[in-house]
């Protein structure tokens, strides 16, 4: 039996190695043969600073085709190396990173070659970060819940609730901070509903998540028509303004990307660190994971299983609520029906893609945020590609990644199973 499992595992590693190497070489070939050969003659221009802020860095011009050939060659080399050597985990990840960055450089060179508009990389990154905030917070909410053994499909509903409550309280009470807090609390309340029905009434958690999404969509839509439409005062569209961190915010390139944004980005940083360290480096996290993997064992050593789950689900909801509030009072200001438009589902996918770890989820969320923003940037350039095709790429890339590179994922063992004391 053991030998059989070992053989299967070995075979899986073998095939994964071939697949990874093949993908790298394929991407390298696309870099060189498609982007390189078919690029317009001329240079690609990249800008590294936002106009009128801090230190200006001169724009860089590079010969597009030559760069494409170069990065293509690098990717192919990495692919061949990957096929021969079985490197350690960290080196594998670095290799993936290198190939992806090469692909990106080739793509941008091809798109911008001979174009008078420059690609502003700082702006691209800044917007990607902003776009990723609700995804990151939603995915973190998923990690909080599922690590303790409660499946949360209601992230979408929690984002929507946070967005609605944030907008209506911020407008009604005239205080953005109050809006942020109550948006978070309202989504926490939805989390509490999830907890009560899943943990106390033992309702199937997938059903519950779907139902809570429908309820949140219906309720916010109903109240929007009923309350906000007749009184525009309740949807006034105020937003938080950006806070530049003194010192750090003035660093070229890094400053505008990481340290010059609304309070939401800073809250997100804090939550990523707290949840990652909390789950994997503290007693609390050990207990949460124990409850999510083997509740009976956790109960035997005296951990309060149900209480742990209740706490995590409600706290997770509050995290998602902040992400929801970002959608209204952090970016566009106004609430609209279905403003979360599927972010919660993408966050769910990001969490699974990130294998139920906070950092993995964050990386996956950033991937979505970045690709969405990249599509926006590319469609402003003179690219012979429809914006719809560009918008499709992050989702296609995810499917390919999930199918080819990540493979079968494993959820916490007790995820979705209610705990009943024997």
């Amino acid at each position: 039996m053991t030998t059989v499992t070992a053989t299967i595992r070995l075979r899986a590693t073998e095939s994964r190695r071939e697949l990874a190497a093949g993908t790298f070489i394929l991407l390298g070939a696309i870099d060189a043969l498609i982007f390189g050969l078919f690029s317009h003659p001329g240079n690609a221009t990249f800008e590294f600073s936002i106009s009128g802020s801090g230190v200006q860095i001169p724009a860089v011009q590079v010969p597009a085709a030559a760069v494409c050939y170069a990065v293509g060659a690098i990717s192919v080399a990495v692919g061949i190396w990957r096929a021969i050597v079985e490197p350690s985990r960290i080196v594998k990840r670095v290799a993936i990173g290198v190939v992806l960055v090469c692909f990106l450089i080739a793509l941008l060179c091809w798109a911008d070659a001979g174009d008078s508009t420059a690609v502003n990389l700082v702006n691209l990154m800044q917007q990607s970060f902003a776009q990723s905030i609700p995804l990151v917070l939603g995915a973190l909410c998923g990690c909080m819940c599922e690590r303790s053994g409660v499946i949360n499909i209601a992230i979408e509903g929690q984002l929507l609730t946070g967005a609605f409550t944030g907008a209506i309280v911020a407008s009604g009470a005239g205080s953005l901070v109050l809006g942020l807090v109550s948006g978070s609390l309202a989504a926490g309340l939805l989390g509490l509903m999830l907890a009560v029905f899943a943990i106390t009434f033992l309702v199937d958690q997938i059903i519950l998540g779907v139902v809570l999404n429908v309820l949140a969509l219906g309720l916010t839509g109903f109240l929007y028509d009923r309350l906000m439409q007749p009184n525009p005062d309740l949807n006034s569209g105020n937003t938080f303004s950006a806070i530049k961190i003194p010192g750090l915010g003035d660093i070229p390139i890094i400053g505008p990307i990481f340290f010059d944004s609304t309070i939401f980005l800073y809250i997100t940083y804090a939550l990523i660190i707290v949840i990652q360290i909390g789950l994997f480096r503290t007693r609390w996290g050990l207990r949460v994971r124990a409850v999510g993997e083997h509740p009976t064992a956790a109960d035997t050593v005296g951990i309060k299983v149900l209480w742990t789950r209740y706490r995590n689900v409600v706290l997770g909801g509050m995290v998602a609520g902040i992400g929801g509030a970002y959608l209204t009072i952090g970016s566009v200001g106004y609430f609209n029906k279905d403003i979360s438009s599927g972010y919660g589902f993408i966050a769910l996918a990001a969490m699974i893609f990130g294998r139920w770890t906070p950092l993995g989820s964050v990386a996956a969320s950033l991937l979505f945020g970045f690709s969405a923003q990249l599509a926006v940037v590319l469609s402003s350039l003179n690219v012979p590609l429809s914006s719809n095709i560009l918008l499709m790429t992050p989702y296609l890339a995810t499917i390919i990644a999930v199918a080819g590179l990540v493979g079968k994922v494993r959820a916490p063992a007790a995820d979705g199973k209610p705990y009943v004391k024997a």
Binding site: I151, V203, D204, L208, V214, I399, V402, A403, K408, A411
Partner: protein, 456 residues
Amino acid sequence: MSDQLPPADPPADPGTTESTKDASAHGAVATTESPQTGQAGPGKSRLKLTGDTIIEAITYGSPAVITILAIFMALVVSALLIVFSDPAILHAWAAFFNAPGQALSMTWHSISTAYSALFEGAIFSPSTIANAFHGGPIAAIFYPISLTAFEATPLILTGLSVAIAFRAGLFNIGANGQFVGGAMVAAWLGFAVHLPAGIHILVCVIGGFVGGAIVGWIVGVLKARTGAHEVIVTIMLNYVMYNLLSYLLGTPHGLQQPHQSNLVAPAIDNNATFPHVGGPPPQANIGFLIALAAAAGVAWLLSRSTIGFQFRTVGANPRAARSAGMSVERSWALVMLVAGGLAGLAASAVIQGGGPPPPLTFNTYGTYGFDGITVALLGRARPWGVVLAGLLFGALQAGGTAMQAATYPQVPVDIVEVIQGLIVLFVAAPPLIRAIFRLRAARGTGLEAVAKGWNG
């Protein structure tokens, strides 16, 4: 039947809480045992047995009773929502002690107007019967119910799509993407190909099935070959399909209507539209019959065929299925193919129904796929349960639109979603309904074993 008294009120002294806990635990054990002791003895007459069965069904809360009570509760909660979101009524309640009649009558008026409009829009309106006696059109009596069937048609089909995947242990959030796949093929066959009447309908319906089936099959094959989680893949494919649809609708040689800058496809041929059953459109059409036939087909597939048996076994326990020699991978691919096809049929019902049907646009898919999840859950992933659930939700949809038009200040049609969500929530939590209506605890009647966790 053991008549356990409820545990005594907890005493104020915190030192004795331990004994109270014991008492309640004992009570719980006694109540779970009671159904067995309450079974009618074998000596009783047949008539008595039937009577007992009915009484037992009501007092213990059979699935049907729980569902009815759940609908009732959902309507009550929604009524509260309608009342307390109306500023005028809130003002009247603020002045309750000055004019109690005012507050009560306004509340009653608001609820009764809304719900009678809902009922008349969905089932039948008494005024049409009165009109029929005075020479009005008889068909008008059946108009609301026909509208309900019309609204229910795509919901039943997407509900079946989600339900059959559930039975094989897969969670299909991608019925919307599969719907788009079916819609593109059905619409293209509808306007680009010209065929005689009956054949054209059939070709489009089959095209819709195939279009959806391909999208579903991709999910199943990826899951079978690489282990890619179907939830991620279906969510991602939804967005891929939405963007593909927008792209094709914006491409002159794709699906875009000639000389048109909007994202609209040409209208389909008259030969390809479903004939409807009298009265003004939108009306029930043969799409509804296709939905019923699909339900019968799924029921046959699941309960009478080898493939269906494999689906159910794989859904119940993939390891057992594998050791029994079944191909789990093949079942996954096949069930997603069928699920996608059913979602594609829903698209064909929308594209070809409601004569003259509106042409395909970038948001024709709406939320049919997501509503299908709720329908499948309420129908307990059983084909005929899905039909009933689809009809209920169709009725709410048809009635909700009528309600929005008939009320002032408007009761937005979004309330329908709240009602639907609440119904499924209450049905999924029988202990809650039992607690509210003081029913006795009984065997599991919830929505258990429908959905599965991530690890399958």
